[in-house]
């Protein structure tokens, strides 16, 4: 394995979802390296406005996972190609509700997942990151 694996930036087709670039943060939305796509943690951003969506947690999860789907599809991958997910919640008591919405996005053969709770920035109720296979 002496040859260098190609490494490229994953960016959403919808520029409103390019949060890190928009806020001048020192990270990219995702990196593709070889067959793998590593996405940064994503929060609940309204794809129409680029603003944070702080509605009920179910809505925040749905928004975040919809955006994750968009991000993966922008990189020619898909939710079906996700192998590992981290779900971080601001409030541990949102776990069941998170899981209820999460199932809508991964109805069969879901990825490995770990979920926990800790402090999140900007009043976000969730942050979700994943590793996916490229197509």
């Amino acid at each position: 394995m002496t040859e260098k694996l190609p490494r490229s930036v994953v960016e959403p087709k919808n520029p409103r979802l390019n949060v890190s670039r928009g806020a001048n943060l020192p990270h990219v939305p995702g990196i593709r390296v070889g067959d793998y796509i590593f996405l940064s943690g994503m929060g609940p951003i309204d794809p129409r406005t680029g603003e944070r969506n702080h509605g009920p947690i179910a809505e925040q999860i749905r928004t975040t996972l919809s955006n994750m789907r968009h991000m993966l599809e922008s990189a020619d991958s898909s939710l079906e190609r996700v192998v590992r997910v981290h779900v971080v919640l601001a409030d541990i008591s949102d776990m069941a509700e998170m899981d209820r919405v999460y199932r809508e996005f991964f109805p069969v053969d879901p990825p490995a997942r770990t979920a926990w709770s800790m402090q999140l920035r900007f009043g976000n109720g969730c942050e979700i990151e994943c590793v996916a296979l490229a197509n």
């Binding site: 070889g34 067959d35 793998y36 079906e80 190609r81 192998v83 590992r84 541990i92 776990m95 069941a96 998170m98 899981d99 999460y102 199932r103 991964f106 053969d109 879901p110 990825p111 490995a112 997942r113 770990t114 979920a115 926990w116 709770s117 800790m118 590793v131 996916a132 296979l133 490229a134 197509n135």
Partner: protein
Amino acid sequence: MSPRREIIVPAVHAPDTASSFGQAVSTVVRGGDFLFVRGLTAIDPQSGERVRGTTASETRQILTHLKQLLEAAGSSLEKVVKVNVWLHSMLEAPNMNEVYARFFSDPPPARTVCGARLPDGVKVIIECTALA
């Protein structure tokens, strides 16, 4: 050719309120050359029921289970490249480490440990990425 994605060990179907025990989470997923293991919590290997214990005993249960899962998938603890450990309290890190060290031969994998709020009163969650 696109890399293979395969569910090696599917979701655990035990009735439990813990999200990690629901059907929306696979336990071991192969993606290309790696195995991705979900965050494991302490369960009785026979009954599949949750086990409540100390940080040390939960760590032991989890790593015993992890070893079995990896070996059943044709991998092993020696092939683990990265581990993430979540503890209900970072004060418990030495108790976790003492047990953890017995499972991994030298050199052990890369690892991150952090304290967080964990679902359903579990004290430890351990997840890993291993070579298939």
